[in-house]
């Protein structure tokens, strides 16, 4: 099994901690000049999403996690699994609700997502930073009310609910930032 020395620690590196695949978020090297060196790292458990701190003696080695991120096209959901396809190899992967997490509300067929595979199986799905989705439900728009700052909730085709300006109508297309869940702009069809 491959392993990494603390010297190789950097943001994004995937390592095994307590039997789970984790990604390093931050790595801090601390060392009293004549004393023992330590690496203090903040890591995210890729299965649970939990963030935790770890301290290693510098020079220790940690098992590498067999984790890769690949760009895949979202196909459909059968209610239990969300299905993705590698556009290069046409290979398909089925991700369960744990792996998809909160990403489900942004998944639209044909959109490209980043799927995180651990030992070949999906453990995480990251939607595109921006998605364009149709409004399927919202209160009627107020004509001419384009300048004022008011907002109302709107349900989008994927089920996500976002706050949109008052003038938007059912059937219109909006651009949303999936990281914050915020409405960005109206999209002309």
């Amino acid at each position: 099994m491959a392993s990494y020395s603390t010297n190789e620690f950097r943001g994004g590196l995937k390592i095994m901690i307590d039997g789970d695949p984790c990604a390093i978020i931050e790595n801090e090297f601390v060392k009293p000049g004549k004393g023992q060196a330590f690496n203090r790292v903040r890591i995210r458990n890729l299965k649970t999403g939990r963030v935790l701190d770890k301290t290693f003696k510098s020079g220790e080695t940690v098992e590498a996690a067999d984790v890769i991120d690949i760009e895949m096209q979202y196909l459909y959901s059968d209610g239990e699994f969300w299905h993705f396809m590698d556009p290069q190899t046409y290979e398909q992967q089925a991700a369960d609700a744990n792996a998809v997490g909160d990403a489900y509300q942004w998944l639209k067929a044909q959109d490209n997502c980043q799927v995180t595979l651990y030992n070949g199986s999906p453990i995480g799905v990251t939607p595109p930073n921006f998605v364009e989705l149709e409004i399927t439900e919202t209160d009627p728009g107020l004509k001419g009310d384009t300048a004022q700052g008011g907002t109302k909730p709107a349900t989008l085709e994927t089920g996500a609910v976002v706050k949109v300006p008052l003038f938007l109508e059912i059937g219109e297309l909006v651009k949303v930032d999936t990281r914050s869940g915020e409405y960005m702009s109206r999209v002309k069809k």
Partner: protein, 310 residues
């Protein structure tokens, strides 16, 4: 790929200003500026310092981790008080406050002990600083007592490990020895709460390095470190001048290196030869110049002080 220097022009000019003032400070105080090789056939045997080995011909050469051994040979040769501005190299040290290659100011003051030397450092930094500086002093023992309510003379290793595990989340402390626990608490817990310039002195004898034991308290060494807002700037000693004790410390280092599976290193017999021939009582200190620039200019990381970091 960017060809530009890492440091801003302001930092590059400030470095020149600081070097000019350092040289003026020592020249007017009767020091001799010296120059010693960066590449030598022996290197520091300390367990927590790793040297970069350079392959050349049949014998290994090492990029020096500090000019200490060579400068002590100059002291033995009768140079009197000496100073040097040079680069030093430490394998594997890289981070916000570390770079494998860094700049050092090292000086040895004949006839001084560590307390007088701390005062000289205070004067130097006050001279170099653009702002008013405030200095305070605390012994290593007092520091742990007041910051962590720890009596380091009495506390057991087991209790130290428990304190580490409580204070440093996610630290696997089972395998840490006494000094490693103290190092972790100092670096991760105590240093971040330090204010202004702080001298910490009288380190445990187990962390003496090349300092002599305190004749009034044999459990501590006449060693100090200077911190600024928790950033370690300088390390100094009343120098150990006894060749027999020095050889014993080297042998202990070499034993410890073997136990930890670290690279085997030869004892620097030339340094021991110099100590045997006799050097005057003196105190010496190494001050990290990149970090000093960070502190003087309010930079966030050592990188901003480095001229290049390609």
């Amino acid at each position: 790929m960017s060809w530009q220097p890492r440091a801003s022009l302001t930092v590059i000019r400030e470095r020149a200003r600081v070097y000019r003032q350092i040289r003026a400070f020592f020249n007017t105080r009767g020091f001799l500026e010296v120059d010693t090789p960066l590449l030598m056939p022996t290197t520091s045997t300390e367990v927590n310092i790793a040297s970069i080995e350079v392959t050349h011909g049949l014998r290994p050469l090492y990029l020096q981790t500090s000019p200490e051994y060579a400068m002590k040979r100059l002291l033995a040769a009768g140079c009197g008080s000496i100073f040097q501005i040079c680069h030093a190299f430490r394998q594997g040290e890289s981070g916000r406050l570390h770079n494998i290659e860094f700049s050092l100011l090292e000086w040895y003051r004949v006839g001084y002990d560590y307390h007088r030397l701390m005062q000289e450092i205070e004067l130097l930094i006050t001279t170099l600083s653009l702002h008013r500086c405030s200095f305070s002093y605390v012994s290593y023992r007092q520091l742990f007592a007041r910051s962590m309510q720890l009596d380091i003379d009495r506390v057991s290793v087991g209790e130290l490990r428990r304190r580490c595990a409580d204070a440093v989340p996610g630290a696997d402390c089972v395998e840490l020895d006494r000094d490693q626990c103290l190092d972790l608490l100092l670096a991760a817990v105590i240093a971040p709460s330090m204010q202004d310039y702080l001298f910490v002195y009288d380190y445990p004898l187990s962390q003496a390095a090349l300092a002599r034991a305190n004749p009034n308290d044999s459990s501590v060494a006449e060693r100090f470190e200077l911190f600024h807002n928790g950033i370690e700037l300088a390390n100094g000693f009343s120098e150990l001048t006894d060749a027999v004790q020095q050889r014993a410390r080297f042998e202990k280092d070499i034993q410890a290196r073997r136990e930890r599976g670290l690279p085997e290193l030869d004892i620097d017999e030339r340094l021991l030869g110099a100590l045997e021939s006799g050097i005057e009582d003196c105190a010496g200190v190494a001050l990290g110049l990149d970090r000093l620039l960070m502190v003087l200019l309010g930079l966030d990381s050592i990188e901003e002080a480095l001229t290049f970091r390609d």
